[in-house]
């Protein structure tokens, strides 16, 4: 019988996730530095209306809660 093992061993198509060379993990110390830097930018950006909106939302919620408890 004619051997077909060489064909069978080969993926039909697409099965090719073999990595030629291992690279280091998808992380780097630089990542955390960038994250800290971006966090600083975000945290120091002023969003007065959003903060007021959140404050107003909770004020209303507590006001409703206190009326309900009376």
């Amino acid at each position: 019988m004619k051997s077909t093992s060489s064909v069978d061993k080969k993926p039909k198509y697409g099965e090719v996730f073999s990595i030629e060379q291992e690279a280091d993990e998808a992380t780097s110390p630089g990542f955390l530095v960038v994250v800290c830097f971006l966090f600083l930018i975000y945290a120091t950006t002023s969003r007065p209306i959003l903060y007021a909106s959140i404050y107003e939302w909770f004020s209303q919620l507590f006001a409703i809660g206190s009326i309900a408890n009376m």
Partner: protein, 603 residues
């Protein structure tokens, strides 16, 4: 995921088969057709497939996910936030009527027209006579591609009310969670962090805001993520079935929004690029496979995406009606609008004079003006995206490039191209898919080996950001607790779009609703209005028409023919000259602010 896309496709196909070319689009017909179709598929599945085995697998997977969620503290917090958000969205959807500008202007009026005429034929609208009356809100009803509106129609026509229509986008948001999870898993992320990535995507402020809306942007982004997940097979072999379903998903996006036309060739680049890369790596010269995959992808994409463009081409001699299309200064299709003019109308002044990258930088920093809402222009992707997602994409991509894995790299590079090529990419509602990729990239990095204290710090920051984002997302002026309590205490019929958005919706609509409460009527509207959807009333009890005022006698005859009882017009509209000449109109309401009048027609 595949089952969801196929179900969506079934809804679209059955709606078209009843709505075109005849007018048989009724709830009962839709139910009968779908029960028959789904029943046949179920019988086929039971006889051909190991259904019990599949159900057992599903049960095991559910238990596995539940165990993971209940044992991991980060995942538990994200899951609690997600459950809270879903319950809150369903509660708001049940309580609030549709309030979004685009929904009231064209997404839902299309549903109203299709439902009342029981067909998908274009209704008669002022835009069809634009040279006479100019452009108004109805410009988009007939011109806009409407695959997702078909789903809105489905959610409305079967229950006979629009209460469920507010939850359609929520379903897409949850499908987005599964798509992100699937893609993360295929990229080698462990199950815990892959689920976390899905939940992080859902908890993105603009995703939460869109989940409650009647816009179609979340469905588009979710379907883009689904198509990406289906096209990328990870360590396995790409299956033809997945390519076909990815084609359907992309086709639905093409037939849902003009920007889908931009995304289709980019998806084809992913498909072809990945195939060529895999063939080259495996030393295969199977170009016939490439042609086969391209055909089974493009076929469904064209089938599900082309109707609305062909219809416009046939009816208005322009597939992209109402836009004027030019190439190198040469006019290809004529239309009353230019894309430039439309973009200029919605462009925020805070971004004036900036180049594209500067605009993205500013909008991602979230200079929020009014808090998070579905239509916000200066933010929406949240703090997580800016702090973690954005750099994570860069670092993950760098890592993938080092590994020379083009197939994986394309999963990030092509969506980045989609983002950069989109003409309104600063408007986060159009680019939510990038938040999903940011979450995946973060999960990829976080799931690697880290020092314990670093991991703890990152987890703490993640939890803090997600709690803040979720709370901030619901603190908009539309959903303030006092307003919600007032809505609960009011009779359901009184919760109208005009009462909730008086800054954009005239009280004239409420007057019509009040007059027709309990006694449904036929209502006509004139040219020049922004919104028409509120005229259908709560429960869509009214019938709504535009009747071209082409002459006093003929217009009166049309009003009589349609048994019109009320008429909403603008004080500057073309109907005024006939109203003034006739004694059949009795003005019952005048809104000076908007220049709207309501007349009772005594014909």
């Amino acid at each position: 995921m595949m089952a969801f896309v196929l179900s969506t496709a079934q809804i679209i196909v059955t709606t078209f088969s009843l709505g075109l070319p005849w007018a048989k689009l009724t709830a009962i017909n839709l139910v009968i057709l779908n029960v028959c179709l789904s029943g046949s598929l179920l019988v086929l599945a039971i006889t051909r497939l190991d259904m019990l085995g599949s159900l057992r697998e599903l049960k095991d997977a559910t238990i596995d996910v539940y165990t993971l969620v209940t044992t991991g503290s980060i995942l538990k917090i994200l899951a609690i936030l997600t459950v809270f958000a879903v319950i809150w969205i369903i509660f708001l959807a049940a309580l609030y009527p549709p309030i979004e500008w685009d929904a009231l202007m064209y997404h839902l009026p299309a549903v109203g027209h299709y439902m009342q005429q029981q067909s998908l034929v274009d209704p008669v609208l002022p835009i069809d006579a634009f040279s006479k009356y100019g452009i108004d809100g109805s410009a988009w009803i007939n011109s806009f591609p409407k695959n997702i509106e078909i789903l809105f129609l489905w959610a409305t026509i079967i229950p006979g009310t629009d209460i469920l229509v507010d939850m359609v986008e929520l379903v897409f948001g949850l499908i987005g969670v599964i798509a992100v999870y699937s893609l993360a898993s295929k990229l080698g992320v462990g199950r815990k962090w892959a689920i976390s990535a899905g939940l992080i995507f859902f908890l993105t402020p603009i995703v939460l805001a869109q989940s409650r809306s009647n816009n179609i942007d979340l469905s588009n982004s979710a379907l883009i993520l689904v198509a990406l997940a289906l096209l990328y097979s990870g360590s396995g072999r790409r299956q033809p079935g997945a390519v076909i379903v990815a084609g359907i998903a992309v086709g639905i996006v093409v037939g849902a929004k003009w920007s889908g036309l931009l995304f289709l060739p980019l998806f084809l680049i992913i498909l072809v690029g990945q195939r060529l890369f895999w063939n080259a790596r495996d030393q295969l010269s199977r170009f016939h496979k490439l042609a086969y995959e391209s055909a089974i992808f493009l076929g469904p994409a064209v089938l599900f995406g082309s109707y609305w463009y062909l219809k416009n081409w046939y009816l208005y001699s322009n597939p992209l009606w109402p836009f004027k299309i030019s190439f190198l200064g040469l006019k290809i299709f004529s239309g009353p609008l230019t894309q430039k003019a439309v973009l200029a109308r919605t462009f925020p002044e805070q971004l004036q004079g900036m180049n594209m990258l500067h605009k993205l930088w500013v909008t991602w920093q979230e200079f929020i003006i009014f808090g998070y809402d579905s239509d916000m222009k200066l933010g929406g992707l949240g703090v997580f995206w800016f702090v973690f997602g954005l750099p994570a994409i860069f670092y993950t991509l760098r890592w993938i490039v080092k590994r020379r894995d083009l197939a994986q790299a394309m999963i990030f590079i092509v969506p980045i191209a989609m983002l950069l090529l989109h003409p309104e990419n600063w408007w986060t509602r159009y680019t939510m898919f990038i938040a999903g990729l940011g979450a995946i990239a973060f999960a990829k990095i976080r799931s690697g080996e880290h020092r314990l204290e670093v991991a703890r710090l990152v987890d703490l920051a993640l939890v803090g950001m997600m709690i803040y984002s979720t709370v901030a997302s619901f603190s908009t002026s539309y959903y303030q607790p006092q307003k919600i309590v007032a809505l609960i205490n009011r009779r359901p019929g009184k919760n109208t779009s005009a009462s909730l958005r008086p800054e954009i919706v005239s009280q004239a609509y409420d007057h019509v609703i009040k007059q027709t409460a309990g006694k449904p009527a036929n209502v006509a509207y004139g040219a020049g209005l922004d919104f028409t959807y509120p005229l259908w009333g709560p429960g869509l009890q009214n019938r709504v028409y535009f009747l071209d005022p082409d002459g006093l006698a003929s217009w009166i005859a049309k009003l009589r023919d349609k048994h019109i009882k009320y008429l909403l017009v603008t004080t500057t509209g073309p109907e005024q000259k006939y109203i003034k000449k006739s004694s059949l109109f009795n003005r019952t309401f005048f809104d000076q602010r908007w220049g709207y009048e309501v007349y009772k027609f005594r014909g």
